[in-house]
């Protein structure tokens, strides 16, 4: 049943492309219907598989001669990310309600992207996973290049090139593993169970991890992210930051770390005082946290603030993965969900609620418009989303950061202190952006250049949906932990567990 999330999205995309051009409102409703029904399916599965156990959805031979199966499966981790995708997808459609330019095509690409994302989360065969992973790049490129703003061709091309470089690295690593394991199967559990030599794993692990890490905003390969986010239309940046970056992090965990657990082990010779890839990536993650936060602190463009904040938040996820303990890994997964919801919301506030009305994203220009009284809903939403993102207790971001920091205390105490600074800078940049954009002092009583349209109902529903999800996780994280933690105990992660969590 869960496979229908993919099919519905692809069918929806196909139908949208066949529609006559003037059926814009029908196109919107159709996209909303497709997004809602996939989200409903995901929710149903989420409720049914309360224990987070692994289950296969479809398993059919696809290219038998190469041992490639059409194998869709899910466990607690993929289920919760599928549900996240469903929620963000609905919100994205609602926030794109105002798209008038080639509406059908826009939503067709949008649904194609969503379907491919579902595909990555549900694939259990690495070939299939890679196909979906590549499929994500195409609609992403077109959404940005056609409907974007500020330097959109540049942003789209940069994003595509980075993604392809990452994919190439992944492909090299995966083929090496496939061949090394006897060219008989691309199935994740078979490859994960194959005893690759420690030396091979040491080499393959960083290649595949960095390949996926590029999409997860791993510093210093993050530079596509801010420009891509800024150039993208609202719904695309919501998906990009909310879901697509999670694909990278998810695959880092699901593929790179499970296939090559020994690659995380200690090197025979320390280099510059660093003793393993694990430490290397943990340090890069913390640099990403601090660097993203510091750069966000000095941006003049509102959307760049959020763009860099995503780099910072993704650093938390990567750090959580590198802690290799149950606490840190669960925290990383919760942070994936949390950041998915909140980054989506922040981009929606900036791109849709503010930019689409004021036509500027310069913080200095937004200040005099007195937006806190002109668009109070946008101001309140931004305050909530910003605070939730910076880790205010009661929201999902706090639970995630809490668990990641506990994990980091155990694994890398010194880095945990660095994370503390990252959290603090996070508070400051959110606060600075909020004050400048919404609560700046009005020096002159300038009337706004044109009256701002009030916030529409679809926007309010979508914002409420995202906030409610974040609060639900923040107040009752057990809901998600219940299905994540059994999944982390599954045999798939046995290799990682020997690392001593």
């Amino acid at each position: 049943m869960l496979a229908w999330t993919i099919y519905i999205s692809f069918f929806g995309a196909a139908i949208l492309l066949l529609l006559p051009k003037r059926a814009a409102s029908f196109a919107r409703c159709l996209a909303l219907f497709a997004a809602t029904s996939s989200c409903g399916i995901a929710l149903a599965a989420f409720l049914r598989h309360r224990t987070g156990e692994f289950f296969t959805i479809v398993d059919k031979p696809w290219i038998p001669s190469l041992g490639i199966q059409y194998h869709l499966a899910a466990d607690g981790i993929s289920l919760s990310l599928v549900l996240l995708t469903g929620i963000v997808a609905i919100a994205g459609v609602l926030f794109s309600w105002n798209i008038e330019d080639r509406t059908n095509q826009f939503f067709a690409f949008y649904l194609l992207l969503i379907g491919a994302v579902y595909g990555v989360f549900l694939s259990y065969d690495l070939f299939l996973l890679f196909v979906f992973y590549e499929l994500v790049i195409i609609p992403k490129y077109f959404l940005i290049a056609n409907w974007g703003s500020t330097r959109r061709e540049y942003g789209a091309m940069k994003l595509a090139i980075y993604s392809f470089v990452g994919s190439a690295m992944v492909l090299v690593g995966l083929i090496a593993a496939y061949v090394g394991a006897g060219s008989s199967s691309m199935s994740l559990d078979k490859l994960a169970g194959f005893p690759f030599s420690a030396h091979f794993q040491m080499v393959a692990f960083p290649v595949v991890f960095v390949g996926f890490g590029i999409l997860a905003g791993l510093w210093p390969f993050h530079t596509w992210a801010p420009t891509g986010h800024v150039a993208a239309p609202t719904a695309a940046s919501m998906l990009l930051a909310g879901v697509v970056m999670k694909l990278g992090a998810y695959c880092c965990l699901r593929v790179a770390m499970t296939l090559f657990p020994l690659g995380l082990g200690t090197w025979s010779h320390p280099v510059l005082g660093i003793t393993s890839w694990r430490e290397t990536f943990a340090i890069l993650a913390v640099i990403g946290i601090l660097y993203g936060a510091l750069v966000a602190l000095v941006q003049r463009d509102f959307k760049f603030v959020i763009g860099y904040s995503s780099v910072s938040h993704m650093g938390f996820i990567l750090l959580g993965l590198m802690t290799l303990n149950l606490m840190g890994l669960s925290g990383a997964i919760i942070q994936m969900i949390s950041h998915g919801l909140l980054a989506g919301l922040l981009f929606a506030v900036v791109g849709r609620m503010v930019y689409a009305r004021t036509h500027t994203r310069e913080l200095a220009a937004l200040g005099p418009m007195n937006l806190s009284s002109a668009l109070p809903f946008a101001a309140v939403t931004f305050v909530i989303a910003g605070m939730a993102g910076m880790g205010l207790p009661g929201f999902s971001g706090f639970v995630a950061e809490l668990m990641i920091v506990i994990g980091a205390w155990r694994a890398f105490p010194v880095l945990a202190v660095g994370v503390g600074f990252g959290i603090l800078i996070g508070v400051v940049y959110v606060w600075r952006a909020m004050q400048k954009a919404f609560f700046a002092e009005r020096r002159h009583e300038l009337p706004p250049p044109h009256p701002l349209q009030p916030i529409t109902v679809p926007e309010k529903i979508a914002a409420a949906l995202l906030i409610a999800s974040s609060v639900a996780i923040g107040l009752y994280p057990q809901m998600v932990l219940n299905i994540i933690q059994p999944a982390l105990h599954s045999p798939l992660f046995a290799g990682l567990r020997q690392g001593g969590w």
Binding site: S330, S372, V383, M387, L392, P393, G394, F398, L402, M403, V405, I406, W409, R410, P413, A416, V417, G420, I423, L424, V427, V428, W431, Q435, F439, E441, Y476, P477, Q478, L481, N482, Q485
Partner: protein, 513 residues
């Protein structure tokens, strides 16, 4: 299953905020009348808890305990003892005063009062939660309504003041969070009561879990202590972590300042008493001399600072630091010695803290209420030089405000006296030198408060100075219960002490160092 009284108490202000936000926007008077009524209802509910509280027992009462996040060993655990009870009571008393002091708020008054209620809910939550995870939610969340109340309704420099307030508190919160997570790693629990029961037996565990076996556990304990200490020291505040306070208190609207000083600063005191003292008693014992010096500096320097100010709100901002300094003095003195002969002194000191927080809450909030009236009548100025001769033109105003000022000064017969008396009675035998130096603070407080009385109430009526009409009869009636309370607590402190006695005894006995 018993009635979840504490959860209900925390939810009541949230409901009140929701009611306010749903009110029609047209009416100017409706929001304030509604919020006054609701805040009094909440006070009534709190008094009901006070009555139902079993004063023969120092154990935790009204306990609610449910599983919440088993994966993190986090429970939903609420309970109060006498310490929590007094905090709830003072919060419930201060909020109506703050609302009365904001009576004439014109700008978006529904939202203003709704934020006040949310702030109250956060404080109730902080004073009842016994699990770090749960408690920290409210501790942090309380910053948000406070920030916006200062930022949006405050004076000209409110933006800076509010940001400074937020950033300072956040720094403290983050260090506290890191410390608690490190402790959690070793102990696997966030529960305050459990942690207090462990003494410092968890310390070697922390070092082992961080892979820092080479670090001396005693040193590590001091680092963890410093992290938590900073969080609370900023909140109370102790000098030198106080610099956010004068700006925040003077830029905030007076009604909000009443709540900030009356109730919110008590969150810091509560943190010291509920968390820091029981869990880190050995560390405090070790660092006692330095901590006492910090406290003495706080007491004496803030009194001098108040003496040097011209702005009424800043004067009482510093005065607030001074008054809470006495609480800290007694708190640190508590862990001086485990000599059983000095137990009565420890009881006296701890009872003094409890009385002092209550009386400071009432007095300080009332003084800011008066300042709000002065501000309104004088058209916004509140410099000492703007006033004079109030006694002649507004005798009732001067008389009632005088009572509040004398109470702040610690005049026997008024509520300020018993608390300070007990604190000094208990502290002196425990740490004579610190108590003696701190008496200097009392002296200077007397000087600056008499200075205020002299400059504002007496003196010639000069042209150009603010003309202050006397209190209206409505205002007189609303001040009556507060002033009566000052007398009652001053003359018959047993009313409060009787209820708290068992708590005092069991609290002092659980301190181990």
């Amino acid at each position: 299953m018993t009635f979840p009284a504490l959860t209900a108490l925390t939810l009541l202000p949230v409901a009140a905020a929701a009611v306010l936000l749903l009110l029609p926007r047209s009416s100017a008077t409706l929001p304030r009348i509604t919020s006054a009524t609701l805040s009094l209802l909440i006070l009534a509910f709190t008094l009901l808890l006070w009555v139902r509280f079993d004063h023969t027992s120092g154990a935790l009462q009204f306990q609610e305990r449910h599983a919440w996040i088993p994966a993190l060993h986090v429970e939903y655990r609420l309970a109060i003892d006498g310490l929590g009870l007094i905090m709830l009571l003072l919060t419930a008393i201060v909020v109506p005063i703050g609302i009365a002091a904001s009576w004439r708020t014109e700008k978006r008054s529904s939202l203003y009062f709704a934020l006040v209620f949310l702030l109250q809910a956060c404080m109730f939550g902080t004073f009842t939660a016994l699990n770090f995870f749960h408690w920290f939610i409210f501790w942090e969340l309380s910053l948000i309504p406070a920030f916006f109340l200062i930022r949006v309704w405050g004076g000209k420099l409110a933006g800076r003041a509010a940001t400074q307030f937020l950033v300072y508190t956040m720094v403290g919160s983050v260090t506290m969070l890191l410390s608690f997570l490190a402790i959690y790693l070793a102990t696997g629990t966030f529960d305050f009561i459990e942690l207090a029961g462990r003494g410092d037996s968890f310390l070697p565990g922390v070092a082992a879990n961080l892979g820092w076996q080479h670090v001396n556990p005693q040193h590590l304990a001091l680092v963890l202590f410093a992290g938590v200490f900073l969080g609370f020291a900023v909140k109370v505040p102790l000098i030198p972590f106080h610099t956010w306070l004068p700006a925040a208190y003077s830029e905030a609207p007076s009604g909000v300042t009443a709540i900030l000083t009356g109730a919110m600063s008590k969150m810091g005191v509560y943190g010291f008493l509920r968390i820091l003292l029981p869990i880190f008693a050995p560390q405090i014992h070790r660092l006692q001399t330095s901590l006492l010096w910090i406290t003495m500096a706080t007491i004496v320097l803030s009194a001098f600072a108040a003496l040097a100010q011209h702005d009424l709100k800043r004067i009482f901002a510093y005065s607030s630091i001074n008054h809470l300094g006495y609480c800290m003095l007694a708190a640190f003195a508590l862990v001086r010695t485990s000599d059983a002969g000095l137990l009565p002194e420890q009881y006296a000191a701890f009872s003094g803290i409890l009385l002092q927080v209550l009386s400071h809450a009432i007095t300080a909030a009332t003084i800011f209420w008066f300042i709000s009236l002065l501000e309104r009548r004088s058209g916004g100025t509140r410099l000492l030089s703007d006033f004079g001769g109030l006694r002649r033109i507004a005798p009732v105003f001067a008389g009632l405000m005088g009572i509040a000022l004398f109470s702040s000064l610690g005049l026997p017969g008024l509520n300020g006296f018993p608390g300070e008396f007990l604190i000094f009675k208990g502290t002196f035998p425990l740490v004579p030198w610190a108590a003696s130096i701190s008496v200097l603070g009392l002296l200077i407080t007397a000087v600056f408060i008499l200075g205020v009385i002299q400059r504002v109430f007496t003196g010639p009526l000069q042209p150009g100075r603010a003309v202050v009409p006397d209190l209206t009869s409505g205002e007189r009636i609303s001040f009556a219960p507060v002033v009566a309370l000052m007398f009652v607590l001053g003359l018959y402190p047993q009313l409060v002490l009787g209820t708290l006695n068992s708590t005092v005894i069991s609290y002092v006995h659980q301190l181990r160092f």
